[in-house]
């Protein structure tokens, strides 16, 4: 296996310092979080950054905080393992915790960060659909100060985001959610572990006592150039009573509006069909059996 090329490494102690290094050194550098995408790119894709700016020593970029206004802030450098095991995330959004638990192995999740998963902008990024369904925002800091974007505006294409080279993703903010919100993430992959999603489907629903959907958010991974919302499918169920037949129609709509490609994992046709089936299942699972589940139960929930 090929080795990384020589490079310089910096470990700034503030965001300002980190941005300043990139400004001074110019193009050809990369930020480093957990390195589980970056070092792979150096070893497998011939990427050879001149310098690397390690963000792990910048204070306050990691950790999960329940804010007074009901929102949840997740620092960009928070590891997937921290998200997966966070009591606050498990209690409020078990399907988000589960989507973090779907990433790689424990060894990978001890390094992989939630910010890196977003900044790398892979269409199959496992945590993206759940965050899109929760209408999360991202905080970005740069020379000109801080700005906030919706996650949907942040992704621009495979590996492309709205960030400038010297900008740093500092946090993910999940707005206050309705107390009745339920959700589900299904990572569809024929392997139980250690594979990327062929299709990822996240749903977040606000249901009343009669299973009427007061709000519905459906987000898809691995089936378009960026993780995407499925607004037409959402419109099918909004303000309706969720039945199996309605979930099927929403699935059909999601299958129509996604834009999958064929690759080593799957053909576009198969992905489209699985978007239909998994969307239906995710909606019914969310409505019927919410709550955290053991991984052994996840596979049953898929079929």
């Amino acid at each position: 296996m090929r080795r990384p090329e020589p490079l310089e490494i910096f470990q700034p102690a503030s965001i300002r310092e980190a941005s300043a290094i990139v400004k001074e050194k110019g193009p050809g550098g990369r930020f480093l979080a957990g390195g589980t995408d970056l070092v792979i790119a150096m070893k497998e894709k011939g990427l050879s950054p001149k310098y690397v700016v390690d963000l792990k020593r910048v204070p306050n970029l990691s950790g999960i905080c329940e804010e007074a206004d009901g929102s949840l802030t997740i620092g960009a450098l928070t590891t997937m393992r921290e998200v997966e095991t966070s009591p606050a995330v498990c209690k409020r959004f078990p399907f988000l915790a589960q989507s973090a638990a779907e990433v790689g192995s424990i060894q990978i999740r001890n390094r992989a960060t939630i910010g890196g998963n977003m900044a790398n902008a892979t269409p199959s990024a496992d945590v993206a659909p759940a965050l899109l369904a929760l209408e999360a925002g991202v905080k970005i800091a740069g020379a000109a100060g801080e700005r906030t974007l919706n996650l949907g505006e942040f992704f621009r294409g495979p590996g492309q985001t709205a960030m400038l080279p010297e900008e740093i993703l500092t946090a993910i903010v999940i707005p206050a959610a309705h107390p009745n919100l339920v959700g589900e993430y299904i990572k569809f992959s024929p392997r139980e572990m250690m594979d990327l999603a062929y299709v990822g489907v996240a749903v977040a629903l606000v249901l009343d006592g009669k299973k009427r959907c007061d709000a519905a958010r459906i987000a898809l991974g691995a089936v378009s150039p960026t993780p995407m919302r499925a607004p037409k499918a959402e419109a099918v169920i909004e303000k309706q009573i969720l039945t199996e037949e309605l979930a099927q129609r929403a699935g059909d709509e999601a299958a129509r509006e996604c834009k999958p490609i064929s690759d080593v994992r799957s053909s576009a046709e198969y992905r489209r069909a699985m978007v239909g089936a998994m969307t239906k299942r995710a909606l019914l699972n969310a409505a019927e059996r919410p709550g955290p589940v053991a991984w052994t139960e996840r596979r049953e929930r898929r079929y």
Binding site: P4, L7, Q11, T36, V39, I40, V52, S105, Q107, R111
Partner: protein, 161 residues
């Protein structure tokens, strides 16, 4: 770029001169001479290179040495408790949890980390924890058994103080 870093390696404070782009795996094996940590896939999938970094199991094939100043690292060479093998090592030997042995150091480091977090794991917990450790001799049944036996022994050691 070379850089002088201080690390605590298997309990000993050490200062090493590293090239920033060197992988932790290569630092351990080629510069320091601790060859117990293995390279399998080189891409974080197989877990043969698992070490503990600041107490957590990670893939040493994906870590740049230049970021390690101040880190605490435990490798398979540091698993023993004094002169005695660690209970996970003893259990793997006793239960035949190794065939060719190449994946074993990684399996042992991951198992140690699991048992510290969860002293009484179910079979499913063990399989979940070891899902990033690949054994190509397909010896998983005995590996799982060994982790279960090590758990019993570790709990016994704990209650007996």
């Amino acid at each position: 770029m070379t850089k002088k870093i201080q690390i605590t390696l298997n309990g000993k404070k050490t200062s090493v001169e590293v090239q920033a782009h060197r992988l932790l795996l290569d630092l351990l094996r080629d510069e320091i001479g601790l060859t117990g940590t293995k390279e399998g896939c080189g891409t974080g999938d197989c877990g043969a290179c698992t070490v503990l970094l600041n107490g957590k199991p990670v893939n040493s094939c994906l870590i740049l040495s230049g970021e390690l100043d101040g880190a605490e690292i435990v490798t398979i060479e540091g698993l023993k408790i004094g002169p005695e093998l660690h209970p996970v090592q003893k259990a793997f030997i006793q239960d035949g949890g190794a065939q060719c042995g190449y994946c074993t150091p990684g399996m042992l480091m991951m198992s140690k980390a699991l048992l510290e977090e969860n002293p009484n794991p179910t079979e499913e917990d063990i399989r979940f924890a070891l899902s990033g450790n690949l054994c190509r001799c397909t010896g998983y049944a005995k590996i799982v058994q060994a982790v279960q036996d090590a758990a019993v022994e570790l709990r016994r050691m704990k209650t007996e103080g």
